[in-house]
C-alpha cells in the first residue's frame, strides 16, 4: 500500500548543482534518496519530491591523499567487498560491515544515507566516528569537509536543507593503529542496541592516541572523549582493560529504552570496551 502519498515528483538529476537546486527550492519538502530504505520505512508525510542520486556517479571507493574516499551512494555491501577495505585496519572494518542488518538491507543501505539520516541505531555512524571520518558536503558548487564530530555538533539536519553529503573520507592508518568494534543485537540481523568502536595508536605497548565512539545508546552515536583521555599514554595491559571497563561504566553517557535498561547498557559499554581492548592487545 502506498505510504508516500504526498510525493508528486521524482528527480534524477545529472549534476550536483541540479540536485542542490531542487533541494533548496523545495523548502524542506524534498528528500534526498540514497538507497531509499529510510524514506520507505519511515515515510515523512510532508515530503513531496524525491531526489535520487543515482546519476551523480557517487558510487565509488577510491584512494587519494592517503585517504579512502567513499562515495555517498556506496552500499554497505559495496564497501564490505571493496579491495580497499579488505585489509583496512587488519580487516576489522570489513568484518563489522558484514554483520550489519541482513544481506538484503546491506545491499540497500548507503554510507552517505546512514550519515545524513543520523539514526541512533546506526552502525556506520560510530564506525566513522571512531575512524575520525570526514564528511564531504556539496552545495552544488563547492565542497565543504567536516570532521564527523563537527558535522553532528552543528545542526546537521539544518545543514542538509541545502547541501548534500557526497563523500566520506577515512584516513589510511598505518600499522601502529588498531581497531575493534562490538555490537549488541538481539539476533543476528537486528538493529544494534549498543555499539562500541575503538581505534588506538599503540607504540611500544603505549597507547599514543585513542578514538572511541558509542552508538545506539539509545541516542545518536557520540565520541567518548573522557574514555579517550583515560587511555592515552597508558600501557596496554589486561589490568588497563579492566580499569577501562570500570571507567567506561562510570563515565559513559548511555540511557535506557524499551529495548534495554540503562543499567544493562552501561554494563555492556564497560564489558565491550574492555573486551575490545583485550582483543587489541593480541594484535
Amino acid at each position: 500500500m502506498l505510504k508516500l502519498k504526498n510525493v508528486r515528483q521524482c528527480f534524477m538529476p545529472d549534476s550536483l548543482q541540479e540536485a542542490v537546486d531542487i533541494l533548496r527550492d523545495s523548502q524542506g519538502k524534498a528528500a534526498i534518496v540514497g538507497g531509499g530504505l529510510d524514506i520507505t520505512v519511515f515515510p515523512r508525510p510532508y515530503i513531496e519530491k524525491l531526489i535520487f542520486l543515482d546519476k551523480l556517479h557517487l558510487n565509488y571507493i577510491k584512494e587519494k591523499n592517503s585517504e579512502i574516499r567513499v562515495g555517498a551512494t556506496v552500499t554497505i555491501t559495496d564497501m564490505e567487498r571493496s579491495l580497499l577495505i579488505k585489509n583496512y585496519l587488519r580487516g576489522r572494518v570489513k568484518e563489522i560491515l558484514g554483520e550489519v542488518a541482513s544481506q538484503l538491507l546491506r545491499n540497500q543501505i548507503t554510507i552517505g544515507g546512514s550519515i545524513a539520516r543520523g539514526h541512533p541505531y546506526s552502525d556506520i555512524i560510530p564506525l566513522v566516528y571512531a575512524l575520525r571520518g570526514r564528511i564531504v558536503l556539496s552545495d552544488g558548487k563547492d565542497d565543504e569537509e567536516l570532521l564527523i564530530d563537527d558535522f553532528y555538533r552543528e545542526n546537521f539536519r539544518e545543514l542538509l536543507k541545502n547541501k548534500i553529503v557526497t563523500e566520506i573520507r577515512l584516513k589510511k592508518y598505518d600499522d601502529s593503529y588498531r581497531f575493534g568494534m562490538k555490537r549488541f543485537v538481539r539476533n543476528a540481523t537486528d538493529i544494534p542496541l549498543l555499539n562500541v568502536a575503538l581505534l588506538i595508536k599503540v607504540e611500544k605497548n603505549i597507547i599514543k592516541d585513542a578514538s572511541i565512539s558509542l552508538g545506539s545508546r539509545p541516542g545518536i552515536a557520540y565520541r567518548f572523549i573522557k574514555g579517550e583521555e583515560f587511555l592515552k599514554g597508558k600501557k596496554i595491559t589486561k589490568e588497563l582493560a579492566e580499569d577501562f571497563q570500570e571507567f567506561t561504566e562510570e563515565n559513559v553517557d548511555v540511557g535506557g529504552d524499551a529495548r534495554l535498561s540503562k543499567t544493562y547498557r552501561k554494563h555492556l559499554a564497560g564489558v565491550y570496551s574492555k573486551n575490545i581492548l583485550l582483543n587489541l592487545m593480541e594484535v
Binding site: 500500500m1 502506498l2 502519498k5 541482513s102 549488541f184 538481539r186 539476533n187 543476528a188 540481523t189 537486528d190 538493529i191 524499551a258 529495548r259 534495554l260 535498561s261 544493562y264 554494563h267 555492556l268 564489558v271 573486551n275
Partner: protein, 786 residues
C-alpha cells in the same frame, strides 16, 4: 516389518516446484475485477465503551462503499475459534461490538475501491469512548473488584465471567497431599511464559466473491475451511449451503489461522454489496489483532521417593486468554493433558487451571498448544528433582516416563474441554531417544562438567516430551478417491496442508495402498464444495486423521478394483490378488490386468460404474509421539548472552511416512521454539499497547541465528495410525525452553523463571547468584552411564 515402496521414502513435496517457481497459488495471487479493499479501525484503549461512533465523513470519502460498525452488522455472539462443533471455547465475541476489550480490538471496517481510500476513510471515523479501568496483568484478573471484562448478558460457555474466569479446570488422581507426605523430596517451581506470536510470513488474508448463483465464495488462508464455513454461517445468520470456502496454498499457519477473523467481515461486505472484497493484515495488524500464544504462569510441585520414583505431581496453570476466550479452555487443558501422562509412575496427580480474561491481545491456538508452556515448567522441575537427589537427569526420566502398554489416569480425566479418552500407549521409544540423543550431544562427557573458556561457559541440558495425534473421538477427516482411464486417481479430501506437506503424505498413502506411483494421484484438498469434510489442520491431526481417512478411502477402492479384476479374470475370490506397479495380479493364476484396463472396462465396457469411494476416519486413539531434546549452549557470563551451539532432537513419530518432511517439521519447530526461548516477546506500554509490532523489534530467528541441529528419527510402528504413523508437527516446539533452561543451570547453576531468556535476565540471575554463593561450593553430579 513390511517393506514399503513409498511409505518411509522421500518423495518430492508435490507443490514444492510450483512454489519454488512462483506459480500463483496463494490467496492474494488472484485479483478480481471490482474488488473492494477492506481496512479496519482498532481500539486505542485497552477497555472502553463506545459511546458513539460517527461514520458520516468516512462514508462520504471518495471511493468508500461501506462502513461497518456494531450499528449495522449482525449482532450474533460466537467464538472465533475454528474448533469442532460444539466449540469448547466460550461464545463471547461479536463481529463488531459496542465494547472494546484490548488495544487492537476491532471497532469498524471500511470497504473502498482502493486500499489507500479505505485507509484514509478509517482516519475519518469519529469514536467517542468511555474509558474503563483495565486488567493488564493476568495475576490481577481474579482479584476482588477487578474490572469485569465480559459483562455481556449473552455470553455463553465461560466459567465465571463475573470474575474474569473464562475457564476453570480441576482434575485429580490418587491423593495428592498423601502423595507429598509420603515423598522423600519435594520440589516446587513456578515459571512464567510470555506473549508470543506465530509470525507466518503470509499474514491473514481473505478474498470473497459471489459465484454465478449468488453464493458466497470465501478464498482464505485458513487451517480450518469447514469450520470457517460453519462459523461464518453462524455469525452472519445464513445457511451453510450459501457458503463455499476454498483454501489454496497458505503461507504458514502454526495455529493462528485456526481462527475466523477476516472471513465473516469480507463475506458480509460481499453479501451486502455483491462485490468481491479483500482484506489483508499488515504485519502490525498480525501482531496486535490476530492471535498469540497464551502467556502462562505454571506452578509445578513434584514429590519423589529417594530412588527417584515420582510419587506426586501437582500442576497449577494460570493462563491469560486475553480479551476473548478463544481456545482458552483447551490450551490450558493441554498444558496438563499433554505433559502429566509422560510421568505416569506418579500415582497421585492433580491439575488445576484458571484461564483468565485480561485487556490484552487475544491468545489462541499456537503450535504446541499449551503443552509448550506446561513443559517449560515441568521439565525444569524434573531436573530440580534430579539435582536434589543427585541423580542424572536422564536416569530420573527413564525411571518415571510412560512406556508401551501403559496408561495414565490423566488421559481419561482431561480431554479437550470435556472428559478425555483412556489411552494405552502402543508405541514408545523414549529410552532409545534418550540414549541416542545423549550420545549425539556427548552427554556423558559434558553433563556436570561445564567447560569454561574466558568468560564463556558451556553447558548441556535436556528434556523429554510427548504430544498427541489429533483429538480422540472428536477429530474426523474424510477423503474421496476416484479412478481415471489412465489408472490415475483423483484424491479429494478435506485435509488442510498449511505448508507441512500433508498433500504429499496423502498421495504416498494412496500410492502405497493401490500399487501406483505417487505422481498418479491428483490431490485436491480443502474446498467445502468439492471435497469431503475434515476438521482441518490442528492438534497434530494431519497425517493421523486426514491420512487415516485417505487410507480408508484407498482400502475401499482397492476392494472395488479387486472385484472388477475378479470378474475379468474369471476367478472366485480376491485373496490372492495383489496391486503392484499399476496392475492387479492374481498370484494364484498369474493373470494380470492394468489399472488403466480396469478403468476403461468399468467406465465404457461392461457393468459400467465409477470406481470411487469415500473413507472417513475418527479414532478412539490419539497416539502420542515422543521426543528427547538435548542442547549445548554457551553462556557469556559478562553479558548474559546465550548462544545455542548444538541442538539434538531424537523423535519417535511412529513410521515417518516421508522422512525429509518429518525432518522439516522437527527443525522448523525447534527454530520456532528457539525464538520463543531466547528473543521473542510482546512488550506493552502501561496502557496495554504493544510497542514492538514488527520484525524490526520482535525478533524471530534468521538463518544466521541457528545452531547446528541434528535430528534423529527413531522409527516405531504405531498400530492405530496409517501405515504405523503418528504425528510430528507440534511436539518439537516444546523442547527449547526447558532444554536451554536446564543447560543454563548445568553451566552456571542459575535458573530463570521467566522467558524469554534475554541477556538482561540471564545477567541478572548470574549477579544474584554471585551474591548468594559467596564462599559456597556446589557438589557436582556425575552422570551415570547405563
Amino acid at each position: 516389518m513390511k517393506e514399503f515402496k513409498y511409505i518411509g521414502k522421500n518423495t518430492d513435496k508435490r507443490d514444492a516446484l510450483s512454489l519454488a517457481t512462483g506459480q500463483p497459488m496463494f490467496v492474494d495471487d488472484i485479483s478480481l475485477p471490482n474488488m473492494l479493499q477492506v481496512k479496519f479501525l482498532y481500539s486505542t484503549y485497552a477497555h472502553a465503551i463506545i459511546e458513539d461512533i460517527d461514520t458520516t465523513e468516512a462514508e462520504n470519502y471518495p471511493g468508500v462503499k461501506m462502513v461497518l460498525t456494531y450499528k449495522n452488522t449482525p449482532h450474533i455472539i460466537h467464538t472465533t475459534a475454528g474448533q469442532g462443533w460444539p466449540e469448547p471455547s466460550p461464545y463471547d465475541t461479536y463481529m463488531f461490538n459496542k465494547k472494546v476489550r484490548f488495544v487492537g480490538d476491532r471497532v469498524a471496517a471500511v470497504a473502498a475501491e482502493t486500499e489507500e481510500e479505505a485507509a484514509e476513510a478509517i482516519k475519518l471515523i469519529k469514536v467517542k469512548y468511555r474509558v474503563l479501568p483495565a486488567v493488564l496483568d493476568m495475576k490481577d484478573a481474579m482479584k476482588e473488584g477487578a474490572p469485569i471484562i465480559h459483562d455481556e448478558e449473552e455470553i455463553k460457555g465461560a466459567y465465571d465471567p463475573k470474575h474474569n474466569l473464562a475457564a476453570h479446570i480441576f482434575v485429580k488422581a490418587g491423593d495428592i497431599e498423601k502423595g507429598f507426605k509420603e515423598s522423600d523430596v519435594i520440589v516446587e517451581e513456578t515459571f512464567e511464559t510470555q506473549y508470543a506470536q506465530h509470525c507466518p510470513i503470509e499474514p491473514h488474508i481473505t478474498i470473497t466473491y459471489l459465484d454465478e448463483y449468488g453464493r458466497i465464495v470465501i478464498r482464505t488462508s485458513t487451517q480450518v475451511p469447514f469450520h470457517v464455513r460453519r462459523i461464518v454461517a453462524q455469525a452472519l445468520n445464513i445457511p451453510v449451503q450459501k457458503i463455499r470456502v476454498i483454501k489454496p496454498r497458505i503461507g504458514g499457519g502454526f495455529g493462528t489461522k485456526q481462527e475466523i477473523i477476516l472471513e465473516e467481515v469480507c463475506a458480509y461486505i460481499t453479501m451486502k454489496t455483491g462485490r468481491p472484497a479483500r482484506a489483508l493484515f499488515s504485519r502490525e495488524e498480525e501482531f496486535i489483532s490476530s492471535r498469540t500464544r497464551h502467556p502462562m504462569q505454571v506452578n509445578v510441585k513434584i514429590g519423589a521417593k529417594k530412588d527417584g520414583t515420582f510419587n506426586a505431581i501437582k500442576m497449577y496453570v494460570l493462563s491469560n486468554t486475553g480479551a476473548y476466550g478463544t481456545h482458552g479452555l483447551t490450551v490450558a487443558s493441554n498444558a496438563g493433558s499433554k505433559t502429566l501422562p509422560l510421568y505416569n509412575k506418579a500415582p497421585n496427580v492433580e491439575f488445576t487451571a484458571d484461564v483468565v480474561y485480561t485487556n490484552l491481545p487475544v491468545s489462541g491456538a499456537y503450535r504446541g498448544y499449551g503443552a509448550t508452556q506446561g513443559y517449560a515448567a515441568l521439565e525444569q522441575a524434573v531436573d530440580e528433582v534430579a539435582y536434589k537427589l543427585k541423580m542424572d537427569p536422564l536416569k530420573i526420566r527413564k525411571k518415571n516416563h510412560i512406556r508401551s502398554g501403559e496408561t495414565s489416569p490423566i488421559f481419561r480425566a482431561l480431554g479437550e474441554g470435556r472428559e478425555g479418552v483412556t489411552q494405552y500407549i502402543q508405541s514408545c521409544a523414549l529410552d532409545e531417544l534418550i540414549d541416542k540423543g545423549a550420545k549425539e550431544i556427548g552427554w556423558f562427557d559434558k553433563f556436570g562438567k561445564p567447560k569454561r573458556k574466558g568468560n564463556k561457559v558451556r553447558g548441556v541440558g535436556m528434556s523429554i516430551h510427548m504430544q498427541g495425534s489429533g483429538i480422540p473421538l472428536i477429530d474426523m477427516g474424510a477423503a474421496t478417491l476416484k479412478m481415471n482411464e489412465d489408472g490415475s486417481f483423483n484424491l479429494t479430501y478435506g485435509g488442510t496442508d498449511l505448508g507441512t506437506g500433508l498433500d504429499t503424505v496423502a498421495a504416498q498413502i494412496v500410492a502405497e495402498t493401490l500399487g501406483i506411483k505417487p505422481e498418479q494421484v491428483i490431490v485436491y484438498a480443502s474446498d467445502t464444495d468439492l471435497t469431503p469434510f475434515d476438521v482441518g489442520a490442528y492438534a497434530s491431526s494431519g497425517t493421523f486423521v486426514s491420512g487415516g481417512a485417505v487410507l480408508n478411502a484407498a482400502m475401499k477402492v482397492r476392494e472395488q478394483i479387486f472385484d472388477v479384476a475378479k470378474e475379468m479374470f474369471g476367478e472366485f475370490d480376491t485373496k490372492n490378488f495383489v496391486l503392484e506397479n499399476g496392475k492387479v495380479i492374481s498370484k494364484a493364476t498369474g493373470k494380470s490386468v492394468t489399472l488403466s484396463e480396469i478403468a476403461y472396462h468399468t467406465l465404457y465396457v461392461k457393468n459400467q460404474h465409477q470406481i470411487a469411494a469415500t473413507g472417513s476416519f475418527v479414532s478412539p486413539y490419539s497416539p502420542p509421539p515422543f521426543a528427547a531434546h538435548f542442547v549445548e549452549i554457551e553462556v557469556d557470563e559478562e553479558t548474559g548472552i546465550i548462544t545455542p551451539i548444538k541442538y539434538v532432537a531424537a523423535v519417535d513419530c511412529g513410521v515417518p511416512i516421508n522422512p525429509e518432511l518429518v525432518r522439516g517439521q522437527i527443525i522448523g519447530a525447534i527454530v520456532n521454539g528457539l525464538g520463543y526461548a531466547l528473543t521473542e516477546e510482546y512488550k506493552f506500554t502501561d496502557s496495554g499497547r504493544m510497542v514492538n509490532p514488527n520484525f524490526m523489534e520482535y525478533k524471530i530467528p534468521s538463518a544466521r541465528d541457528i545452531p547446528e541441529i541434528v535430528t534423529i528419527i527413531n522409527e516405531t510402528y504405531e498400530p492405530t495410525g496409517p501405515y504405523g504413523a503418528k504425528s510430528v508437527a507440534e511436539i518439537n516446539i516444546n523442547g527449547p525452553i526447558p532444554a536451554i533452561g536446564n543447560a543454563l543451570y548445568n553451566a552456571l547453576g542459575i535458573r530463570l523463571h521467566q522467558t524469554p531468556y534475554t541477556p538482561e535476565r540471564v545477567l541478572e540471575a548470574i549477579e544474584a547468584k554471585k551474591l548468594l554463593d559467596k564462599g559456597k561450593v556446589s557438589e557436582p553430579i556425575d552422570p551415570e552411564q547405563e
